[in-house]
C-alpha cells in the first residue's frame, strides 16, 4: 500500500519521502534544503538527471506578519517549472486539533492557520501557480457551535480587511464561491468589495470556497441550465458535460479543475469539496495539521505531484 500521509519531523519526512519520492529527490532536498541555509548553490541535479544552476539565497520562511514581496523565488531543487500544477486546491484542515494539542481554544488554531495561508499564497505567486482554491468553510460547518462559527465569520472579515492591500500588491485576484447568502451582511459586502478591487490582477487567482458544497455546486449548475432552457437560450438536447461544467461556480477560472488537491491533518476524504472538478486531480493527503503546513510541506506535495507527472504523464482534467 502506498499511504497518502506524510509528516513533518525528519524521521517521518524520510518515511513519507519513501512513499512519494526517489533517492535523488530526497538527496538533493537534504543537501540543498528549501529553507535555504546555503547562500549559494553551484549545481542541482534534478531527479530526471537534468543539470541546472540555481541560486538559493536563503529564503525567509518565518512567520512574519509582513508579506515578502522580494524578487521572484527560484523553484526549490528538484522541482521543474514545466511540471508545476496550474491549479492547486487546498482543504485547510486541522486548526482545532492543533489548538487542542496545545491546550488552546479552537480560535487560536484558526488564527494560526491564517499564517499558513499567507505563506501559501506568497509561494504560489512566486512559483507561478495560476489558481489557488482554498476550502475555508463548508456548508456542513454551519452546524458547528455558534460561538465557533461566529468567531470564524469575524476572523474572515478581519483577515480580509487587514490583508486586502497586501494581496492586491501581490497581484492576486480574489473570487469567492459558495452560498454567500448565509454569510453576515458585512462579510458579504467585504468579499464583494475585495472581488471588485482585485478583479484586474493576474499573478494568481485565489478562489475562496466559503459556505460551499460540491453537491450544491452541481445542483445549482443544473438549475441555471434549466433557466436557460426555459428562456430559450439553449435546447434540452444540448445538455452535456461541457454545459454543466460551464455553469459550475469555478467555471470563471482559466483552469477550473485542480491539478493537485492537498488536504492536511491526515484525513483522507474530499468532504464535499469540488466533487465534479476533482475527477482526475492528484490527491495528496498530508499528516501535518494546517497551522504547521509551511513551505517544506508544500514543496513535498509538489515533489510528489511532479514525480507522478514524470512517470505517468499529466491527465486531462
Amino acid at each position: 500500500m502506498l499511504p497518502l500521509r506524510s509528516s513533518v519531523s525528519l524521521e517521518k519526512k524520510l518515511l513519507s519521502f519513501s512513499r512519494n519520492s526517489c533517492p535523488s529527490t530526497i538527496t538533493q532536498s537534504l543537501l540543498f534544503p528549501s529553507h535555504g541555509r546555503l547562500v549559494q548553490l553551484k549545481t542541482a541535479v534534478s531527479a530526471t538527471g537534468v543539470a541546472h544552476r540555481e541560486d538559493d539565497k536563503g529564503v525567509n520562511t518565518g512567520t512574519a506578519s509582513t508579506w515578502d514581496l522580494s524578487e521572484p523565488e527560484p523553484l526549490p531543487p528538484g522541482l521543474l517549472r514545466e511540471l508545476m500544477p496550474r491549479h492547486v486546491a487546498v482543504v485547510m484542515d486541522g486548526n482545532a486539533r492543533w489548538a487542542r494539542r496545545r491546550g488552546l481554544p479552537a480560535s487560536s488554531g484558526h488564527e494560526a492557520g491564517v499564517q499558513s495561508l499567507r505563506e501559501l499564497i506568497e509561494l504560489c505567486v512566486k512559483w507561478g501557480i495560476r489558481v489557488l482554491t482554498v476550502f475555508a468553510f463548508s456548508s456542513e460547518n454551519w452546524f458547528r457551535p455558534k460561538g465557533e462559527v461566529d468567531f470564524l465569520m469575524g476572523l474572515f472579515e478581519r483577515v480580509m480587511e487587514s490583508e486586502l492591500q497586501n494581496i492586491h500588491r501581490q497581484g492576486v485576484q480574489i473570487s469567492t464561491i459558495g452560498d454567500s447568502s448565509k454569510l453576515p451582511k458585512s462579510l458579504q459586502k467585504l468579499l464583494s468589495r475585495a472581488e471588485q478591487y482585485t478583479k484586474d490582477n493576474s499573478q494568481l487567482h485565489m478562489i475562496v470556497a466559503i459556505s460551499y458544497s460540491g453537491r450544491s455546486d452541481i445542483t445549482q449548475a443544473c438549475k441555471r441550465i434549466a433557466r436557460k432552457v426555459k428562456d430559450g437560450v439553449i435546447c434540452l438536447e444540448d445538455i452535456d458535460e461541457k454545459l454543466i461544467e460551464g455553469e459550475l461556480e469555478t467555471s470563471f477560472s482559466d483552469f477550473p479543475s485542480p491539478d493537485l488537491l492537498i488536504r492536511t491533518s491526515g484525513e483522507l476524504r474530499l468532504s464535499n469539496f469540488l466533487l465534479w472538478q476533482l475527477a482526475y486531480t492528484e490527491l495528496f493527503f498530508a499528516q501535518t495539521l494546517w497551522p504547521d503546513f509551511r513551505k517544506t510541506e508544500f514543496v513535498e506535495a509538489l515533489h510528489s505531484f511532479q514525480q507522478r507527472q514524470r512517470r505517468y504523464g499529466s491527465r486531462n482534467s
Binding site: M1, S18, T27, L30, I244, N272, A279, Y280, R308
Partner: protein, 251 residues
C-alpha cells in the same frame, strides 16, 4: 622553485576540493537514503507477511460491519487482468466485506461482469435497495460502474429533472433542482448506488479516475498502488485503519 604553473595547478586542485567534497557528500547521502528505501521495502514486505499469516492479532478481529460499502477503483489498463480482479474480490469475501462497487473508467470490468460473477461462487449483481438487505456470511453483492455512471449519469439525471420541470410549469426550479431530487433522478437513470465508506484506488495515479462524484462526499480514499502489486496484508490494513476513523462530517 615554485613556478606559476605549479601555483595555478595547486589553485585548481584546491578549487576543485569543495566540488569533490560535495560530490562525496551527495554520494554518501544518496547511499544512506537508498539503504533506507531498501529497509523500508523489507519492513513493508515483512509487515504484509505478518498480517497475512495472522501473526498480528489486531487484524484478526476487524469490525468489518463498520464498512457498509466498499468501492474499488481500478485503472482501466490494469482492469484487463480479470484474474487479479477476481483474486481481490475473493480476498474481500474472505475478509467479510458484503457490498463492493467496482469501477474502471472504460468499463472493462462492467463488460466482464458475467465472467466475474460466474467465477465467484457467492456473488450477486447489485440491484437498487440491496444495500439494506441482510446477507448470509458468504454472499457478496457487486456493483459494476464506469464513466457512464459518473458525469454522464449526472447529465442524464439533469435532463430528467428538466423534463419534470416542464411538466410542472414555470418557476418551479427551486422545488425540482434540489440535492434530494438529484439523488432520486440518479436512481431513476440507473446510477443511484450508495455512497461508499471507503474507496481503494488500484492504479498508478493517485486520483479516483472519474468515480461517480455525487457519491464521494465523505468517502475515505486510499491509494493502494498498481493492481499488479496488490497484497492481502495491505488490503486488510486499509480496512482495519478505516474502522478506526471517526468522522465529524464537517460539524
Amino acid at each position: 622553485m615554485v613556478t606559476t604553473d605549479s601555483i595555478r595547478r595547486s589553485s585548481a586542485r584546491i578549487a576543485q576540493m569543495p566540488s569533490f567534497a560535495l560530490s562525496v557528500l551527495w554520494f554518501l547521502i544518496h547511499l544512506l537514503i537508498s539503504i533506507f528505501f531498501i529497509v523500508l521495502g523489507i519492513a513493508d514486505a515483512v509487515e504484509n507477511y505478518l498480517i497475512s499469516s495472522g501473526f498480528l492479532k489486531r487484524y484478526d478481529a476487524i469490525n468489518v460491519g463498520k464498512l457498509r460499502y466498499l468501492a474499488i477503483v481500478v485503472d482501466s489498463e490494469d482492469a484487463m487482468q480479470i484474474n487479479k480482479a477476481l483474486k481481490l474480490l475473493q480476498w474481500l469475501t474472505d475478509i467479510g466485506v458484503k457490498h463492493v462497487c467496482l469501477y474502471d473508467s472504460e468499463g472493462v470490468l462492467k463488460k466482464s461482469k458475467e465472467i466475474i460473477l460466474e467465477r465467484l461462487s457467492c456473488a450477486k449483481l447489485y440491484e437498487e435497495g440491496d444495500e439494506k438487505s441482510v446477507l448470509d456470511s458468504k454472499t457478496m453483492i457487486i456493483e459494476f460502474t464506469s464513466q457512464s455512471d459518473g458525469k454522464e449519469a449526472l447529465v442524464r439525471a439533469a435532463n430528467l429533472l428538466l423534463k419534470r420541470l416542464r411538466s410542472l410549469g414555470e418557476n418551479q426550479e427551486e422545488k425540482i433542482f434540489t440535492e434530494a431530487q438529484m439523488t432520486e433522478a440518479l436512481k431513476a437513470v440507473g446510477s443511484g448506488g450508495p455512497e461508499p465508506d471507503l474507496l481503494l484506488v488500484y492504479g498508478p495515479a493517485r486520483c479516483h479516475l472519474g468515480f461517480p462524484a455525487w457519491r464521494l462526499r465523505y468517502t475515505e480514499i486510499v491509494h493502494m498502488g498498481p493492481l499488479d502489486s496488490m497484497k492481502y496484508g495491505s488490503l486488510l490494513k486499509s480496512i482495519y485503519n478505516f474502522t478506526l476513523v471517526r468522522q465529524n462530517y464537517g460539524k
